[in-house]
């Protein structure tokens, strides 16, 4: 079995379209060992995974605008995980009113509200419920070190008293603890025991010629060896999992952040699949992170770039979108991995709930509204996926957390500031956002165009400066303007909303293009936003 197993972990290329033709699935089948878990009734346990994205989002590229529950167009930033559409439940209009500090937004993500500082975060409450039978109740993971001066930015998972739970960032370390630990793996235990025997034997020869001081030291050493051996003997030899851990591949030492995260996602999937744990929280970065994504060719700090309006330049926006896209790719990467593992009757993803998102909406003005939140996986049937839920009113994250707890069988009267669970996750009716109706049309005159419709960014983020106005029944009008126009008409502000726009135009292969704006009117909003909100 040993060599048939060797898989070089692939380096995933950004934007390489369909990623990861994963070898895992075949491999698992080839192993011909029954899936470990729940084999009795063939019902698998449900896992809960959270993935935190730092520094909010750039709303013009993230938000879905228009669209309904079952008929929607995914936003440009969602492109990397569009292929998982059927497994997703995209939530919109989640959050709080007002603005949020980085630290508050980090707390909000899993604790429902930034003021909820005395109770456990939702992942921990769920871990208490589902994590008792596994070797590790839960894993709390991250990529970055601590920010001591803004400690709240470094944690999403909190214990019963609301205290932060230490997290681990090294995939090799996590792997070794899970799979190379003598207490978990019978093979390891055997090796460790013989190692202890041998060391003890060798050290005895030292003892023969030792003075009093040496004897004392060696006595202490032997005592420790003995205690360790005794402890190992006590460990129940019957391992919970029938996977031979020694066949799992230890991740290589990461060089870039991308390696580190990919390796960690690998380890996470293995941990869930082997049922070593059922609950994992993972931070793709600290909120307020000033990481420099040099492996993406970016030299500026992430936090600086995330303030895309006050630090506006086209290249800054490009850089920010590259970083955001990378975050989305990691989400995709996790989902792809979970899908590739067979678990019970379906895939590991079918038996999981993955909560992806942030605690902040707009990364420049820090609004706490329209926070990016996506659920993935059917949770063993508890979620009805493949839908886009845009709530009519702002929904606090506490309601989402209550709904998740309820699904996991935890009865809680209230959580954070919320007292009723969020509706609609399982297909139940919910109060859907109703947009004011508007007409869309386009009027052509020689050299000029006036178009009315919803403005959106190009789906292709490589051309982030290109916008479209969607016109019903017609090809969308392309807007390709200079920086001056973009800036003075504050085009980004109108993204997602219906507008009337006039300008000088040209036509290429039937595609109408506006090259110069002469006027923008917002149908329902503020027509002259000035420099507020990008």
């Amino acid at each position: 079995m040993s060599n048939s197993w060797k898989i070089e972990r692939r380096t995933f290329l950004r934007g390489a379209g369909a990623m990861v033709p994963l070898p895992f699935l075949n491999l698992m089948e080839a192993r011909a060992t029954k899936p470990i878990i729940g084999s009795k009734e063939d019902t698998s346990p449900v896992r809960f995974v959270t993935l935190f994205k730092p520094n909010g989002v750039h709303p013009p590229s993230w938000n879905i605008n228009g669209g309904t529950e079952n008929d929607f167009r995914m936003s440009p930033l969602m492109k990397p995980f569009t292929k998982h559409k059927d497994d997703l439940l995209i939530l919109d209009n989640m959050g709080d009113f007002g603005f949020s500090s980085h630290s508050n937004s980090t707390r909000r993500f899993l604790s429902g509200h930034h003021g909820n500082r005395k109770t456990a975060s939702v992942d921990q409450i769920i871990a208490d419920k589902i994590g008792q039978d596994t070797a590790h109740r839960s894993l709390e993971l991250t990529t970055e070190g601590l920010f001591v001066n803004q400690i709240g930015c470094s944690y999403i998972s909190y214990d019963k008293k609301g205290n932060s739970i230490p997290r681990e960032s090294d995939p090799q370390l996590v792997f070794d603890r899970l799979f190379r630990n003598p207490t978990q793996d019978p093979n390891r235990r055997e090796e460790f025991t013989s190692l202890l025997d041998r060391i003890g034997e060798d050290a005895k020869s030292l003892q023969r010629k030792a003075g009093k001081e040496d004897i004392e030291t060696l006595d202490e050493y032997f005592t420790v060896l003995r205690e360790t051996e005794e402890r190992l003997e006590k460990i129940n030899a019957g391992s919970r999992s029938n996977v031979n851990f020694s066949t799992l591949k230890r991740p290589d030492t990461p060089v870039t952040l991308d390696d580190q995260v990919e390796a960690m996602l690998d380890v996470m999937a293995m941990a869930l699949w082997t049922d070593s744990t059922r609950c994992i929280s993972y931070m793709l970065g600290n909120s307020n992170s000033r990481l420099i994504f040099d492996f993406l060719g970016i030299k500026k700090q992430h936090h600086y770039l995330s303030h895309f309006f006050r630090n506006f330049s086209r290249s800054n926006i490009d850089s920010l979108l590259k970083i955001s896209l990378w975050h989305m790719e990691k989400f995709d990467s996790l989902l792809t991995r979970l899908k590739s593992y067979k678990d019970g009757r379906g895939s590991l993803l079918d038996n999981s709930v993955v909560l992806f998102g942030s605690g902040m909406g707009h990364s420049d003005n820090h609004t706490a509204q329209r926070i990016p939140i996506v659920l993935a996986g059917k949770g063993g049937g508890m979620l009805k996926t493949g839908r886009y839920l845009r709530y009519s009113k702002n929904q606090e994250l506490g309601r989402l957390h209550m709904a998740l707890m309820q699904k996991f069988g935890i009865d809680q009267k209230s959580y954070a500031n919320s007292s009723t669970p969020l509706l609609g996750l399982d297909g139940s009716p919910f109060d859907e956002f109703q947009e004011r109706p508007f007409e869309s049309w386009v009027n052509k005159a020689p050299g000029t165009i006036t178009a009315q419709g919803r403005l959106r960014m190009s789906d292709n983020l490589d051309e982030a400066k290109v916008f479209y106005i969607d016109v019903e029944g017609k090809t969308s009008v392309r807007i390709e303007i200079s920086f001056g126009d973009f800036h003075s008409f504050n085009v980004a502000y109108h993204v997602g909303t219906p507008i009337k726009l006039s300008g000088n135009s040209s036509e290429k292969n039937g595609q109408l293009v506006i090259n110069k704006i002469t006027g923008i009117t917002s149908l329902f909003g503020n027509s002259k936003p000035g420099k507020a909100n990008g």
Partner: protein, 648 residues
């Protein structure tokens, strides 16, 4: 364990007593005898609270049973004499000492101090590597660091990077105050488990493709590109074992011993050979000989002897580098020439030029001056980086660039970056400026070596912003100066000190005036008359360490030392420190350095060594390098006493 350590002094003491008896028999007769005269007083009046049912204030007289025990506690007696003369002990409610008893105690103490003491090295005791020593040893053995994969931004706090330091519990400071004094930090199953984990990680990494050059180095053989660990040959495995084990164990290893490891490889091939090889390497790295220092040293039970050349190499390299001896030291140890004074001296000079010498400042310097107190205090990582590294770089400069010991107090050289440049007034104009690239909101900036001209209020370690801000008030500053720089021992303040009273109605008193009223009690004054003048002298520096210039109503920074010397402010005090207090400062430097080098608390038997080195440094205005050379050639460093063999 502590008692056993003390018992080790029995033999030298008996030898010494014998020696004294032969030459100065009259002195012995004249002595007040501890067992006969002093012990009964302690048992009667002190033991109840200090070693009987209770052990108050960590003072335990039950452990002191004879003259030998008493000798090893000479610092304790200083405190005893102080509290007894001040009438603080025994406490009021307890039966008091008779005048006769008091006089006897004081006289005995005087005799103790004045009695000649012979220079005797410490007795041998194996010692586990401290966390940083273990980390550095692994690093230089394998040629790579075991790092925790953790993304780092400019706000990220350091310290999580080293896998070793992350996994091992933090070493508590030993009796010497230094963490390399691991005598009391015992091994535990948890620590063993972490060693196992780290060992696995290191060996896994050694065989990873990226570490091929390291593996080749340890194997002593070039490997073709297509080579894979599973393809390892018998010869390759054997030469790896032969090279690795002596390096790991830091000395020549007998053929017989290595043959045990080699035997385990016999007849194996492929993956089985590889696994057996890894197993043997793990056995070595988890053996007590690797984890402890001194177990394999040549032993001469019951004798005082020079340590062998390998032990000397280890001593000097863990002292100056906090690391194992490198090839050059090992070669000089193999042929024995390291034992020669001139060769060892040349090695010290060489070692101070190597990059590992930074550990002298990073470890010894940081611990001596308590610089890690800044870690808790300054939460902003960028300020922390500046304030903490400035004194470390300065100490590194003194230690490795041949600067006089007394430069510690005053020096024109300092190290500055953007984080501390604002503390240097007009001198700032001459500093190289650093401008942040666009898109970088916060960043640490590099340090530059800088010669002070106008900022005469800086210079030396005491007025560095990090040090001043670490010790916020005059009392903390005074205590720090007294303890860490002048080496004066202070007792702990009593527990029941009332708060400092506000100014009485209608009067506006300064903190200093209010504080002086507050501490007028004699028991407070005993320490505070030493602390306060030093502390208040720095009152022209605010809590952040900024020098207050051109301001009216400056606080009173003048003072008078117990010696009678007076000064108007810190700069005048500095003059005093550089002249009349110079010997005291140098003595303290010698004591601290010797204690760190020996990884133990000094005893009275080290005093002749300290006296001699202090004298030489004072006379010659000696440098730190001179001090290190003196130490590595001193008796306690070169020799040890072996206790008698126990037949197991």
């Amino acid at each position: 364990m502590a008692t056993l350590q003390k018992k080790g002094f029995l033999i030298p003491r008996l030898l010494a007593a014998f020696f004294l008896f032969v030459i100065y028999p009259h002195q012995l007769k004249a002595k007040i005898q501890f067992e006969k005269n002093i012990l009964p007083i302690l048992e009667r009046s002190c033991l109840k609270c200090h070693g009987g049912k209770k052990v108050n204030g960590e003072v335990d007289f039950s452990k002191i049973k004879n003259q030998t025990d008493a000798d090893s506690q000479y610092e304790l007696w200083e405190t005893v004499v102080e509290v007894i003369s001040a009438g603080e002990m025994p406490p009021e409610e307890s039966p008091q000492l008779k005048e006769k008893e008091k006089t006897l105690l004081l006289k005995w103490h005087q005799e103790q101090l004045n009695s000649p003491v012979e220079s005797v090295p410490g007795n041998f005791k194996p010692r586990r590597l401290s966390g940083p020593e273990y980390r550095n040893t692994l690093r230089s053995l394998f040629g790579f660091d075991l790092k925790v994969a953790v993304a780092k931004a400019q706000q990220t706090v350091a310290g999580e990077e080293s896998l070793v330091l992350k996994l091992l519990p933090k070493d508590p400071p030993g009796a010497s105050g230094f963490i390399n004094d691991t005598h009391a930090a015992s091994l535990s199953p948890v620590i063993l488990e972490q060693y196992t984990f780290i060992t696995d990680a290191a060996i896994e990494k050694l065989f990873a493709p990226k570490q091929r050059s390291q593996l080749q180095y340890l194997m002593g053989e070039n490997l073709p590109d297509e080579w894979r660990p599973e393809k390892i040959s018998q010869n390759q495995a054997r030469s790896l074992i032969k090279n690795f084990i002596p390096k790991a164990l830091r000395r020549h290893i007998s053929k017989d011993k290595i043959n045990i490891n080699l035997k385990a490889l016999n007849k194996l091939t492929g993956i089985e050979l590889l696994n057996a090889l890894k197993f043997e390497m793990k056995v070595t790295m988890l053996s007590p000989e690797f984890l402890y220092r001194g177990l394999l040293m040549e032993k001469f039970p019951g004798e005082q002897k020079s340590v062998d050349a390998f032990e000397l190499a280890e001593r000097v390299s863990y002292f100056l580098w906090e690391d194992r001896p490198d090839n050059e030291l090992m070669n000089l140890a193999s042929n024995g020439s390291l034992l020669k004074t001139d060769i060892l001296t040349t090695q010290v000079e060489r070692m101070l030029k190597e990059p590992q010498a930074i550990n002298l400042a990073e470890s010894f310097g940081v611990q001596w001056f308590g610089i890690s107190n800044l870690d808790e205090l300054i939460k902003n990582p960028i300020s922390h980086h500046s304030l903490r590294n400035q004194p470390v770089l300065f100490l590194n400069h003194l230690f490795t660039k041949g600067r006089p010991v007394i430069d510690l107090i005053d020096s024109k050289t300092t190290f500055v970056n953007e984080g501390v440049s604002g503390f240097y007034g007009q001198d700032r104009g001459r500093m190289k400026r650093y401008s942040k690239p666009k898109g970088i909101e916060r960043t640490t900036t590099p340090f530059q070596e800088f010669t002070l001209e106008k900022a005469t209020w800086r210079g030396g370690i005491i007025t560095m912003p990090g040090i001043l801000t670490m010790n916020r008030g005059p009392i903390q500053r005074g205590t720090w100066l007294l303890r860490r720089v002048l080496g004066v021992r202070l007792g702990e303040p009593p527990a029941d000190v009332p708060p400092i009273k506000p100014s009485p109605r209608g009067q506006k008193l300064s903190f200093r005036e209010r504080f002086e009223r507050h501490r007028s009690d004699t028991s407070c004054a005993r320490c505070h008359e030493k602390i306060d003048p030093l502390g208040f002298s720095l009152d022209h520096y605010d809590v952040k360490g900024q020098f207050i210039q051109n301001k009216e109503n400056l606080p009173d920074a003048s003072g008078k030392l117990p010696t009678g010397e007076t000064f108007k402010n810190y700069s005048e005090l500095k003059e005093i420190l550089m002249t009349s207090q110079k010997e005291k400062i140098i003595r303290n430097s010698v004591e601290r350095t010797l204690s760190y080098a020996m990884c133990r608390k000094l005893t009275r038997n080290d005093q002749p060594t300290v006296d001699r080195i202090t004298k030489n440094i004072v006379k010659e205005n000696g440098t730190w390098k001179d001090l290190f050379v003196e130490i590595v050639n001193s008796l306690p460093f070169r020799e040890t006493i072996f206790t008698e063999e126990i037949k197991g």
